[in-house]
């Protein structure tokens, strides 16, 4: 019997991470888009909002690597700036999910079986029962379209995900003997949750966070595709696709590149998530 522990290895996590092919590839892909997004703050090949109708619908060329759109804007520049919006929306909405969901889940777990637990979990189920995209559309109908409201709409649906995850993981931990030891040491539920539970579910949260991040990118793309995400002139991948749709027979490049950007970013994040899960999960690690 070899000694196994849940979350032991703190020493060489980074080294371990890059030994995972999934993680490395995912990191590379995601990293590329994050770099592009950051770079777009200071430099893009062209001004992403500069309209030049005369140069509209040009295919990829030396001047415009990924071609131009129906207003003659440079698609590469738009994708770079769009990366910024997408990543920001997804990141903040995951943040909302974690910030609200994790404490709720921990609270429910600490009071397992109580009314609080019941209410939190039923409310979670209820949110899950709502058709997410429809509610997002309703939310933007109420507050108007825009990146901030897209964040709120996506964030709301991240809350139950993290609440459930945190509760489930915390419940297992609450039966661990070190939690009993902490309780014997007189520590209250809040303290135990913060000191013992939270750090030990961090791995799970990171993995889920990565996955929700990628889902957030997809959700943002869907919302801005129906016109509810970031508003023009700020480019967004979803709206670029919506614009491209009417021209798909004329200028397929307008649809291909932003779509590929979405796929690669989401793929990168998912691969990273998978890699992280393998690294964090000692069961899998042993078998490798």
């Amino acid at each position: 019997m070899q000694e196994i522990s849940l979350t032991d290895d703190r020493r060489s996590l980074v080294g371990e991470a890059f030994r995972s092919k999934s993680f490395s590839l995912g990191f590379l892909l995601t990293g590329a888009f994050i770099v592009a997004a950051v770079l777009s703050l200071v430099w893009t090949p062209y001004d992403a909002t500069a309209i030049s109708v005369a140069e509209k619908l040009r295919g990829p060329s030396a001047a415009h690597w990924l071609g131009t759109d129906h207003f003659g804007r440079d698609i590469l520049s738009m994708i770079m700036v769009g990366a910024r919006t997408s990543i920001a929306v997804a990141f903040v909405s995951v943040g909302i999910g974690i910030a609200a969901g994790v404490p709720l889940g921990l609270w429910a777990a600490a009071r397992q079986g109580s009314l609080v637990d019941e209410i939190i979990m039923r409310a979670n189920d209820l949110v899950f029962a709502f058709p997410a995209l429809l509610i997002a559309i309703l939310i933007t109908a109420v507050f108007g379209p825009g990146a901030v409201n897209a964040i709120i709409a996506i964030g709301i649906f991240n809350i139950p995900v993290f609440a459930r995850l945190a509760r489930g993981a915390a419940l297992t931990l609450w039966t661990r003997e070190y939690i009993f030891a902490a309780r014997v040491a007189g520590k209250g539920a809040v303290r135990i949750s913060a000191e013992h539970i939270l750090p030990n579910i961090m791995n799970l949260l990171i993995v889920q966070g990565t996955i929700q991040f990628s889902l957030g990118i997809l959700a943002d793309a869907a919302l801005s595709y129906v016109g509810l995400g970031a508003q023009p002139p700020v480019p967004s991948w979803g709206r670029m696709l919506a614009d491209a749709q009417t021209m798909i027979s004329l200028a397929p490049h307008m649809a291909l590149f932003p779509g590929a950007a979405i796929v690669l970013t989401v793929l990168g994040l998912n691969l990273m998530g998978d890699g992280l899960r393998d690294i964090f999960d000692p069961k899998l690690r042993r078998s490798r």
């Binding site: 661990r176 003997e177 030891a181 309780r183 040491a185 007189g186």
Partner: protein, 540 residues
């Protein structure tokens, strides 16, 4: 010709050596006990016979069953051997059965796979086999699902599956380790009966010498993937050659040397439990019926005096864990009082810090009782939280850490390590260090040595005995293992169905049990020395 001949068996997984040159044999009608601690390779030896090995395993040597070489058989051929010529029983009856199939189907499957008979016929054989293993039709129809059976009953089903086709060889890998002692005795008796009836060979793998002492014809002792000693049971037990075997033998019946306790009967008891009741609500039978209640702890009262070590024994489900949690104020009680050093552990405003300060706990699992993200320093000082502002700081704190680590045989330098850097036994020492750090008068030891290998267990028991003598500690020692309780306690309480059925001085209770249940328990507990004596008398 011997039934099973293992020769020069070596095995490695992904380059890591697991077995080297293992060699032993099993005859028809013979029980061979394979004994070893964790990592000795005893289970892997069994799996080699079954040829159920993980990916990346390399095997060399020879395993011959009835003269046929198993290692050279193809997977398809091995499928015909498994279940038909060789049956196997595993340690965990709770998970070894498919939860979504009836026991009848699962036993019948063995028959159908190998004999190609129709289902009805296979079910008839299954019925017969279940009768043989002590699951009569009236109480155990074939349509039962595993979850409707107790652990012991499930193990009987697993055995039935393994012997349905009357194999030549049965391998039982720790078949009783997960079971209560009384059940263990029954299962061992059943295995012995089946061996005698069918004349099959039995390999009984266990970590516990005492378990095999009664029924094994021959013993194989393994360590680190090697056979260190083998021979006929009684001779081998009486004249061990290898130092490891000797150490194992010594550890098995180990009784730490203890000074006679000086019990202060007149002082305030360190623990006083009076008329404690703990009930759980049962699910409603119908919507409007009042939910019933299950009394896990039923009106329990006892005291522990200063300097006294008290044992609490009972089988799973007897309520000892619930009682423990109540004493630790981790669980509310419906009525009764629990006082530690005169202070109520639970007051109206919740658990009392003052009471808790005088009491610490050591849990069973050396792997689960520490937050893996903290260093030992932080782990062992956690109880100081109870002292609030009175907790020592700075140099005083360092001194206390060093003191408690050194008390348990570790060094002060270990404070800066993470818990994964320690072995199981060392972790249990850290757990004891954590319990000692507030200088409590009572330590609750909840199955504190149950998860440890025998040799480690002996060391920890010595440590506990030593600490109790030196620091004038009282223990409440909770365990299902009577031999351990006997070794370390002054007084013992026997618990059954939520009540304490017998209590008294340990030696008195063990040598002259009054209650039927106590007698049953003691009779069922494997006792190496007693078993050997019985066999010597029988042989003579």
């Amino acid at each position: 010709m011997t039934l099973l001949q293992i020769d020069n068996l070596s095995l490695s997984i992904l380059g890591l050596n697991i077995l080297s040159s293992v060699r032993f044999e099993v005859d028809r009608g013979e029980v061979v006990g394979v004994i070893g601690e964790s990592g000795s390779g005893k289970s892997m030896t069994a799996m080699s016979v079954m040829q159920l090995l993980p990916h990346g395993t390399e095997v060399s040597g020879s395993i011959r069953l009835d003269g046929e070489e198993l290692l050279s058989k193809s997977e398809r051929e091995m499928c015909r051997v498994r279940g038909s010529d060789v049956g196997m029983v595993f340690q965990e009856p709770m998970t070894a059965l498919n939860p979504v199939k009836t026991i009848g189907d699962q036993v019948a499957e063995t028959v159908m796979i190998h004999k190609g008979v129709r289902r009805a016929e296979a079910l008839a054989i299954a019925r017969e086999t279940l009768n043989r293993v002590g699951l009569p039709e009236e109480r155990f129809p074939l349509t039962r699902y595993p979850h409707e059976l107790s652990g012991g009953q499930r193990q009987r089903v697993v055995i039935a599956m393994a012997i349905a086709l009357r194999p030549k060889l049965l391998i039982a890998d720790e078949p009783t380790t997960a079971l209560d002692v009384t059940t263990q005795a029954q299962i061992l008796a059943l295995l012995k009966k089946l061996v005698d009836e069918d004349g099959m060979g039995l390999i009984l793998i266990t970590h516990d010498l005492a378990v095999v002492a009664d029924i094994a014809d021959r013993i194989v002792i393994m360590k680190s993937g090697e056979v260190v000693e083998a021979g006929p049971a009684v001779q081998l037990f009486r004249a061990m050659q290898h130092p490891y075997s000797k150490a194992l033998m010594a550890a098995t019946g180990h009784h730490p040397v203890r000074k006679p306790p000086h019990v202060a009967l007149d002082a305030v008891p360190v623990l006083e439990v009076s008329s404690v009741v703990r009930e759980y609500a049962l699910p409603r039978k119908t919507l409007f019926a009042r939910p019933g209640a299950f009394r896990a702890v039923n009106n329990v009262s006892f005291k522990i005096h200063k300097g006294e070590n008290v044992g609490l024994v009972g089988e799973s489900g007897c309520g000892k864990s619930t009682l423990t949690r109540a004493i630790l104020a981790l669980e509310a009680t419906q009525s009764g009082e629990i006082r530690v050093g005169g202070e109520l552990v639970t007051t109206k405003s919740g658990a009392s810090l003052a009471a808790r300060r005088k009491m610490q706990v050591v849990f069973q699992d050396p792997f689960g009782s520490f937050n893996p993200r903290h260093k030992v320093r932080r782990l062992v000082t956690e109880p100081f939280y109870l002292m609030g502002r009175d907790a020592p700081t700075g140099a005083a704190l360092e001194a206390r850490i060093a003191e408690s680590l050194e008390n348990v045989g570790l060094s002060a330098r270990d404070a800066d390590k993470y818990i994964h850097e320690f072995s199981g036994g060392q972790r249990q020492r850290v757990a004891i260090a954590r319990a000692l750090i507030t200088h409590p008068s009572l330590i609750v030891l909840d199955e504190a040595v149950s998860a440890l290998d025998v040799s480690i267990r002996a060391q920890i028991l010595d440590l506990l005995a030593d600490l109790s003598d030196r620091l004038d500690l009282s223990y409440l020692f909770i365990s299902h293992d009577l031999s351990v309780v006997r070794a370390i306690t002054d007084r013992v309480m026997v618990m059954k169905a939520g009540q304490i059925v017998e209590t008294g001085e340990t030696e008195v209770v063990f040598s002259n049990p009054q209650h039927d249940y106590t007698r049953q328990l003691i009779a069922a507990t494997p006792d190496l020395e007693a078993a050997l004596k019985r066999r010597e008398i029988a042989a003579a």
